[in-house]
Amino acid sequence: MKYLVLILCFFNINFMISQDLLLEAESFDDTGGWVVDPQFIEQMGSSYLLAHGMGEPVKNAKTEVNFKKDGKYKVWVRTKNWVPGEWEAPGKFQIKVNDVLLENTLGLRSGWGWEYAGAIQIKNKKNVLELVDLTGFNGRCDAIYFTTSDNEPPSSLKKLTAWRKTVVMEPLAPEVTKKYDLVVVGGGIAGCAAAIAAAEQGLQVALIHDRPVLGGNASSEIRVHTLGIYGNFERILKKLDTEHYPNGSPEAHKDQIKRDNNVKSYNNISLFLNWRAYDAKAVENRISYVDARQTATGERIRFNAPLFVDSTGDGWIGFWAGAEFSYGRESVDEYGEEWKEHGELWSPKQPDNAVMGSSVLWRSYEVEQKVDFPKVPWAMPVAKDYAKVKGEWQWEFSRNDLNQIDDAEEIRDHMLRAIYGSFANAKKQPENANRKLEWVSYLVGKRESRRLVGDYIFTLNDAKTGRTFPDGVVEETREVDVHYQTVLEDEKNPDFISEALFYKTPKYYIPYRSLYSKNISNLFMAGRNFSTSHVGLGGPRVMRTTGQMGAAVGFAASLCKKYEVDPRDIYTGYLDEYMELIEKQKYTPIPDSKK
């Protein structure tokens, strides 16, 4: 329905000049085999449709388009060639209007921008538009623009953003506002746990998540199993966690159903699936609202609340609100986190912007007959001669010129090249003649990005010494496990394979003070974006631990509501009551229905 609004808005303004229509690809009536990819909105401007067919062209995406005026329209498509070079572009596609293929093949240009698809004579009001994938290798379409003028829409992101606003005529603020006691942004394990804990204490909670399913890295879309202990929150976390199946296993679907059903069973959790937050406004260091957009339709809602939880993983809410954050590795002396045995790999003498990388998991399976896999010359500069039939956690990519947030699309694409290239190499081996790709994630499974700064910064030393805290609400026994890229030790290694360094620790604790922002007074954080050093993150970044963080802030939020105070006040004024509430969770029986 979105494009109708666009037409009306546009025609009001430009009727006399030309006939134009902007159609966002993600709002197609039927996306066919294309998937909506909202991961890189902040970098390239919008959700887009991705032809993720693992080498087999996907089913056409289809939508009805209403034109007000007949005429000859030029058709522009915002797209990009995701691996430009001396080979055929991997992600090619075409546009079909009313069963007529437009002349130009698309997906050929370097960098996001507009490509000319061809011209079409529109004779009827109702028209059918299709995206025709030609390769199955991740062609991408952000938007389609029909115009009777000769002007090409602007490609540079700055100009495009301004142009889009002009065309769409979208008011600055969302027209719908909703109010809650607590707004949780990010429906990974931490966000879900926060929502449940707060909801159980009677709060009205909004849980905003940009995917159709909950769980983030643990979801059936990314498929990392949950690790760590339950701490005080076994009852809640058992509703959300996974079995210890291999990373990438289809068994993730079973846990997905459990998780989604459990969260949906709370009447006072308003679940906003496929909604992605895009702004947060703080006045005098206090967040007034978070704005979010439906990833396909583009509808917007403003969320008001006295309290917010940033469980976005990337710390977006904190970032937009102006919260202090850190990124990269501290110097070894900053917090005294040396591990002599592993020297610079563990903690460098000088601070730098290196972080643990992102994974894209995948797997293949045996079929009864021989099956071919296309040639993928565009993948070989990354895969080289590496040959594999599945990818576990070691399939991880980080490089110091790439920011895990700003360059996430390039990181994901690098991993796709690694996967397709390695599988193509494996397919050359006779024993893999019947191997077929079963599943390749297109979502980046991040380990580390922004870390919001709280009143306390958790470090390796807290884990090493098993330091106890009066507000120790999260507990863990899992070793601190920091990854590095093996290419740092030997340039012959693939640059997408990592190694883990395990530091054994006693049981350790994370204080509540690491779970709310130092300078944004009503912001909690839970998940990998909690207040920690780079090395400190090595242990508690796994998902039962981050789930404990979520539950802990959910309960804190309930006391904030009860006494109308901010997160810090719970530590300074209500700690006994808070810790009693946390302690009590240990003994709250698990209802049979949730076992």
Binding site: G85, Y245, E344, A354, E392, D401, E489, E499, F502
Partner: protein
């Protein structure tokens, strides 16, 4: 000082920690030595090198077998080169024990670097079949991996059967998989591999490194700095005072060009400020731009604002090597130079118009914005 290795560790009780007792070694090392490269060896060996045993205060105690001395191997001029020990240890599995003989070698930082077989004492597998050449080589590779999965698993965890369902017939344990263990150990000789790894990479490592540190002098520092062993390079670099960077500037630039990314990173991150303030000192590092890895190119580019014009010109010939963000960094640095420098301008045009470079469009947009 003694280091205890007990054979019961393979029954799942694990290592006893290093215990420092009395320094009571009265070794007979001086009569022995080696004149040829160990059969399995990861370091360079200089032709004609002859090394003599020299006693150290260390021994490895193997339960039921007594003390096994650790010697230093030194040149005729008494320069330390390696550490070595003749190991005889029981390997027990399923109630049956046999002896394993190996001569192990460690470098001066205590890292395992190689072994020799003991004559007449071939290693055997569980079924008494003798190791073949590939098995010895695999054992060597395993011992070289100081971060092996054997480090963090007890023996019983390595042999336990997977509880998880077998998905499409492959080993399907998550994280540290049984398959991963199989890949790295000699087939049928898990127990021998486990015992050997824990001796070679056990507490002795830290003790030997400490011992070397206690005798670390200028000569040893220079030896390590000049070495092609990356561990030695890193150790020597770590010991340099700021003033010494100047003294060794040529060698440091050479290491930067030739070593592994990790060592290069240490160099570029720790070069004294003076290097980036002095054209002649920084140019040798920029000269390696095309030869070093992507991460180190990024670290060099962090200093581009202080680079002399000749570096900017030379980098213009290497635009195809730059990643997107590196290119952006470079372009922002030449914004003011490009109009007055025809060489850079010509290189930008060449790159933008070549038609087959991934990021040519970035240069095209940059040139358009300049107009």
């Amino acid at each position: 000082m003694k280091l205890i290795v007990v054979n019961i560790l393979i029954c799942g009780l694990g290592f006893l920690s290093t215990q420092k007792l009395v320094m009571n070694y009265n070794g007979d090392g001086q009569d022995r030595g080696i004149t040829k490269k160990p059969e399995y060896y990861a370091m360079e060996w200089q032709d004609g090198l002859a090394l003599n045993n020299k006693a150290t205060p260390f021994y490895i105690e193997v339960e039921a077998m007594g003390n096994q001395n650790v010697d230093m191997l030194v040149t005729d001029l008494q320069r330390p080169v390696l550490y070595t020990a003749d190991i005889c240890t029981p390997v027990c599995a399923d109630g049956e024990c046999r002896l394993m003989y190996l001569t192990l070698y460690w470098n001066l930082l205590g890292a395992y670097v190689g072994f020799d077989k003991v004559e007449g004492q071939a290693l055997t597998k569980h079924d008494h079949v003798e190791f073949v050449e590939q098995d010895y080589e695999k054992l060597h590779q395993l011992l070289l991996d100081d971060n092996s999965i054997l480090k963090r698993r007890k023996i019983d965890e390595l042999v336990s059967k997977p509880k998880e369902p077998q998905l499409d017939g492959v080993d399907a344990i998550a994280g540290a998989t049984i398959a991963e263990v199989k890949e790295s150990v000699v087939d049928g000789a898990l127990y021998s591999c486990y015992v050997a790894w824990n001796i070679a990479n056990g507490p002795i490592k830290a003790e030997l490194q400490k011992y070397t540190a206690s005798m670390f002098d200028e000569e040893l520092k220079n030896y390590m700095l000049m070495s092609r062993e990356v561990d030695y390079q890193m150790y020597a670099l770590n010991s340099l005072r700021e003033s010494e960077y100047m003294e060794h500037k040529d060698r440091i630039a050479q290491i930067f060009r030739e070593s592994i990314p990790l060592v290069r990173t240490y160099i570029v991150q720790n070069l004294p400020k003076l290097f980036w303030e002095t054209d002649s000192l920084q140019i040798p590092f920029w000269a390696s731009f095309a030869e070093v890895d992507i991460n180190n190119r990024s670290l060099l580019l962090n200093h581009i604002q202080k680079a002399p014009v000749e570096v900017l010109v030379s980098l213009a010939g290497n635009l195809e090597l730059m990643t997107k963000n590196q290119l952006k960094l470079y372009l922002s640095a030449i914004e003011n130079t490009v109009k007055t420098n025809p060489d850079i301008n010509a290189q930008l045009l060449r790159f933008a118009e070549s038609g087959n470079h991934t990021y040519a469009y970035i240069v095209t947009e940059f040139l358009e914005d300049l107009e």
